[in-house]
Symmetry: C2
Subunit: 313 residues, 2 copies
C-alpha cells in the first residue's frame, strides 16, 4: 500500500505533513517526490531548498514563521561569511548549514542525492513510513527569462524577491535527467497520487518534465489522482505563483491551475473561498471537485485537510 | 627591511602578536611562515589549524581562554553536524566554520593556500605589514607513531588529547613539498629570523623539512637568528612538547630545545625561570643567550617580550 505526493517547498511541505499523519494512521507508505530544479550551490555547498523544507517540516524542525529553515536557528556563520566576502542574500542558519555541509560531503564521496536525502531524513527524525525522494539524481536547474536575461531560480526567487517580470521558464539539464529507480517504483506502486499545493510552473512542472514522469502519471488512470490548488481567490498564499501564471499566459486562479493539470488529475481540491468555481472546473476539465478549507496555519490544519480529502476520494 | 618568523599555533601566535606591534613601530614587514603539517579535512572542509590561530590572533578575534577559535563563538552548526552523524571531537565554532567554508571554496576554485590565507587575513583585518605565509601550498601531513600505529596529527592532538605515548614523527608528502615563492623571497630578504616558542618537533620541524628551507636558513649566517624556548622549567606551557621531546629521545628542557636548533640559530631566549641553564646552553651550543620573562598572558606581555628581545639583538 503506497501513496505518492509531488511537492515543491513550503506549501507542499505543509500539505505533506498532514498526509504523513494520515498515512501513519492508515498504515500506508507515503513517497514524496520533491522538486530539485531549485537546487543550487552557495559557498561551494550543495543546497536543495525544497528537499530541506520537506526534511525540516516533516521532522518538526521547521521554522513556523518562515516555512523555510530551522526554528530558532542562528546566523553567526552566515554573518561571518558575509564579512569574509561571501554572498549573503541566501540566508543560511547555523544549524541549517550543517545539512548542506553534510550533503556536500556525502555527494562528493559518491553518494546520490536520493541516498543523502534518505540519510538526512533518518538522522533528522522524519518518520520512517514517509520517504522523501528527489525527482532525479541528475542536475536540473530552473531558470526564468526576465527582461531578456535568464536568471537562476534562487536569484529570481530570493535575491530579487521575485520582484521582476518573467516571460519564460526553462529547466536546464532536463533533457538528460532521469527519474530515479525509487521514484519509478513509488509511482508503479501508487494507490493514490497527490499534487500538493505547490507552484505548478516551477515546483510541479520540473517533476513532470523529468524523464518519463508525465507519461507514467498520465497512464495511472485506475487510481485517484488529486491536486490541491495553491491559488485561493486568485492569489498564491505564498510566493509568486499567481503572478507567474499571469505572466506566462495562464489565468491566475484555481481554474487556471486545474486547466494546467487536466491531462493528469481526476480530482481537484478548491478552497471554500473558491466554491463558486466548482462547476467551471468540473465542466471545463472533467475533474471531480472537492471543496475544502485548504489554508494550513498549523499542523492540525494540515492533518484535517489531508483527512478530509482522503475521506472524499 | 623585513623580519621572518617561523611559527606553529597558539604559542607561536602569541609571540607573533608582539612582533607585529614592534614591526609596525619600526616600519618593518613581518613575514610569518606557518606550519601546515597539522592541516586536515573535517566534514569535507579544508582546515588549517595553525594558520587559523595566527589569523585570529593577529586580527584580535582569537578566543583568549583557549588560544584557538574565535572569541565568544557559538557551536550550533557543530552540534547539528554531530546530530547528523558527523564527527564532533574537533570543535568548530559557527564563525570559525565560515573560515573553513570560504577556504574550501577558494581552494576548489583553484587558488593556492597562500592566496587564500592572504585573502582571509585581509578580510579579517590582520595588519597589512604582517604577512601570514603557509610553509607550502603542497599537502604535508604530520603523523605520529603510537603503539605501532600512525596517527594523523589532529587525531593525536585533539581526539586523543595527546594522551598516548609516541615513538616517531613523520611528515607525509614532505619529499615532494616545496616552499612557496613567497617564503623563498621572505627568507632571502630577512634581516632578523625568529623561531617562535612553538613545538620544535611538530610545529617548527615540518617548516624546516620542507624543500630547501633548512639549507636556506642555515646559510643565513649574517643576520640575527633567534629562537624563544617553548619549554620553561622543563614543561611546555601548552601542549605535549615536553613529553614528545622525552619520548623521542631528547631532553625536555630549554637546553634540549637549544640543542635541537644549534645548527641554525645564533641566539636563544631562556625564560628567567631557566636562567641557571644560560652557561650550559652557551657552552654546549655556542649560542648567545638572552634571559627574559617569556610567559605571555596577554598582548602587553607579547609586545614587551618582542621589544625586549629586539633591543638585545
Amino acid at each position: 500500500m503506497s501513496w505518492v505526493a509531488l511537492a515543491g517547498g513550503v506549501g507542499g511541505a505543509k500539505f505533506a505533513r498532514g498526509l504523513v499523519k494520515i498515512a501513519q494512521q492508515q498504515q500506508q507508505t507515503l513517497h514524496i517526490i520533491v522538486n530539485t530544479g531549485d537546487d543550487f550551490s552557495m559557498h561551494g555547498l550543495a543546497i536543495s531548498p525544497d528537499i530541506d523544507t520537506m526534511l525540516y517540516t516533516l521532522s518538526g524542525a521547521a521554522n513556523p514563521d518562515t516555512g523555510w529553515g530551522i526554528a530558532e536557528d542562528t546566523f553567526a556563520a552566515h554573518n561571518q561569511l558575509a564579512k569574509l566576502g561571501g554572498e549573503s542574500w541566501f540566508w543560511l542558519g547555523d544549524r541549517d548549514l550543517a545539512t548542506h555541509i553534510m550533503r556536500t560531503q556525502l555527494l562528493r564521496a559518491g553518494r546520490t542525492l536520493t541516498q543523502v536525502t534518505s540519510y538526512l531524513a533518518q538522522r533528522l527524525g522524519v518518520p520512517n513510513h514517509a520517504q522523501i525522494l528527489p525527482m532525479t539524481n541528475d542536475p536540473v536547474a530552473t531558470e526564468l527569462l526576465s527582461n531578456g536575461a535568464w536568471l537562476a531560480f534562487q536569484e529570481y526567487f530570493v535575491k530579487l524577491r521575485h520582484d521582476v517580470p518573467i516571460s519564460a521558464v526553462r529547466f536546464q539539464g532536463i533533457e538528460s535527467a532521469q527519474i530515479t529507480a525509487e521514484v519509478s517504483a513509488a509511482v508503479a506502486a501508487a494507490e493514490i497520487l497527490f499534487f500538493c499545493p505547490s507552484n505548478p510552473l516551477v515546483s510541479i512542472e520540473p517533476i513532470l518534465a523529468t524523464g518519463a514522469m508525465r507519461a507514467l502519471l498520465t497512464a495511472k488512470k485506475n487510481i485517484p489522482r488529486v491536486g490541491v490548488s495553491p491559488i485561493i481567490g486568485g492569489k498564491a498564499l505564498k510566493g509568486p505563483a499567481d503572478r507567474m501564471m499571469t505572466e506566462l499566459g495562464a489565468e491566475s486562479s484555481a481554474l487556471g491551475v486545474a486547466r494546467y493539470y487536466r491531462d493528469i488529475l481526476d480530482i481537484f481540491v478548491l478552497d471554500s473561498e473558491d466554491a463558486a468555481l466548482q462547476s467551471a472546473v468540473e465542466q471545463e476539465t472533467g475533474m471531480r471537485v472537492i471543496v475544502a478549507d485548504t489554508v494550513m496555519r498549523n499542523e492540525e490544519d494540515s492533518v484535517r485537510l489531508a483527512e478530509y480529502i482522503i475521506q472524499k476520494l
